[in-house]
Amino acid sequence: MPLKLLNNVFFQSIFLMSLLVVVGIFIPNWLVFVITKAIAYGLVGLGIITLMRGGLVSFGQGFVFGIGGYTAGLLGTQAGLTDAVLLLFISFIFTGFVGLIIAPLLARYRDIFFAMLSLAFSMVLYGILIKIDAIGGSDGFVLPESTYFGIKPSKEYADYILYVVSVIMTGIVSILLRYYYDSTPGLIALAVRENELRVEYLGSSAFNVTVLNFTIAAGLGGMGGALNGIALGHIDPEFTYWTTSGEFVFISILAGYLSVPAVFLAALLLELVRSFSGRYFPDTWQLILGVFLILSIIFIPSGIGSFFKQLFDKLKNK
């Protein structure tokens, strides 16, 4: 029975969420902040692995990351909406909607063409954002402090509360996504990755599955962008820059497409490497990141997720 529970996605997620919420009480504030940022990046990575399951990689998820961040920021500054839960939810929906609009165009392309077209969207958005002075141009703008169901937490607890909210919301999203992966379109996405022609000859649409996956990836990217903006208290066009998109691809490659928790672990590793190299080895962070990426591609080509999968397969077979 305990093994059965351990294999249940819902219980796994509840356990992990509870653990993270409790651990957050005992860890220093800087680490709480780092984990919150890792969750934000992990959400975008989760979107990319959703696409990867269908054989596609987006080099331009900065596009949806930026839209999500700016949506949360503008709702805060222009509409006075400061509730973090609401901002995350609205950013998810709005960016998903934007994704749905451009997905039919992107879904017509495969491989490097898909990757570069997605990158092109992020570059166009970056170019537009740095030119609009009304929203801060290249400097961006500051977000108002967040509230939670009408309550504004003291500065001392603000980071932890946001951390808890992000853990819970991400947990819910991850559960839903796991169920999506196990549903028919989730399964067909894996088939599209292998043999698109056969999928069509079985009566299903590779195009529709790609549109759906991109829409989900966009929503997740937008939610990640909003969370990152809220955590930093600031948003700028750098969110949409191609190097930011590259970091999301890095997370996805490191994680692989076999496991949802692996994406957040990969994002945390990225954030920790960034934080430590920034503090102890300034200006070498790209070097460290590059070496890290080379090693992970050579030694764990299927990503960290392959370890998780092996572990759970062993548990299943026991």
């Binding site: 999506y180 028919t184 000859y201």
Partner: protein, 255 residues
């Protein structure tokens, strides 16, 4: 014009690839429940015809009707949804998956909207897949990665995947090609047994005349894009033109 007895009707089909004529004034009526084999040397137009029926290729002129509906302009996905499935000469299966998962994908693609987002591995789906596996004698290979499976088993799986949707017409492109001589009959026996459960119309491309004679009721012979004979096995296989251009003048014994 709709005729219920004609499940599939091709009218005046012409298709060329540059100077090569792949189909010349093809007219075929296929009735419900028929077992039809298409014979002809390589390049005679058999697979081109099959590709046109399934929407992969479009005829230059002419139309194809399925249950009275013109399916000529439709794409393979829609045609499959309407009830025409096919298997391939080189099995088109999902290599990193197990045989069971391949069938699960095939089953998933046939789901209606209300069940689309349910867990694909539900008991109902599992039971149906197990039944298909039994029907094709694939149980022992169910959980093996298909890239490791022998040629004959891969062929069976390819056909089983096409059958999962419960089509009205199943087109098999050279089901015994690439399979050893001693494996051909057991393979065809398994296929015939599996297909006998459904009242299926089966059209298959085949080069082995013994297989043709044993497993089909009707034979259509192609030569250079034209139909040179169409009828029951004995008549077609003993046709002078067929013997000269297709079977190589071998007298075929009557069944």
């Amino acid at each position: 014009m709709s005729d219920k007895s004609n499940l599939l009707r091709a009218e005046g089909i012409n298709k060329s690839f540059g100077a090569v004529i792949a189909a010349k004034d093809i007219n075929i009526n296929i009735q419900k429940g028929e077992r039809v084999s298409l014979i002809g040397s390589n390049g005679a137009g058999k697979t081109t015809f099959m590709n046109m029926v399934t929407g992969y290729l479009k005829p230059d002129t002419g139309n194809i009707f399925f249950k009275g509906e013109n399916i000529t302009p439709l794409n393979p996905r829609i045609i499959t949804q309407k009830g025409i499935s096919r298997s391939f000469q080189i099995p088109q299966i999902f290599e990193p998956m197990s045989a069971w998962e391949n069938l699960l994908v095939a089953l998933g693609t046939s789901k209606t909207n209300h069940s689309y987002f349910r867990n694909a591995r539900s008991k109902e789906n599992s039971d149906y897949i197990d039944e298909i596996l039994s029907r094709f004698s694939l149980n022992e290979f169910a959980h093996r990665q298909v890239s490791e499976l022998p040629g004959g088993v891969r062929k069976l799986l390819d056909i089983a995947m096409a059958l999962v949707r419960k089509p009205d017409i199943l087109l098999l492109d050279e089901p015994t090609s690439g399979v050893g001589a001693e494996e051909k009959y057991p393979l065809m026996d398994t296929i015939a047994k599996a297909l006998s459960v459904e009242n299926l119309t089966v059209i298959f491309v085949e080069h082995d005349m013994d297989i043709v004679q044993n497993y089909s009721e009707r034979v259509i012979a192609f030569y250079q894009g034209e139909i040179i004979a169409d009828g029951n096995c004995d008549n077609v296989l003993n046709d002078k033109n067929v013997q000269e251009f297709v079977t190589g003048k071998t007298q075929v014994k009557a069944k």
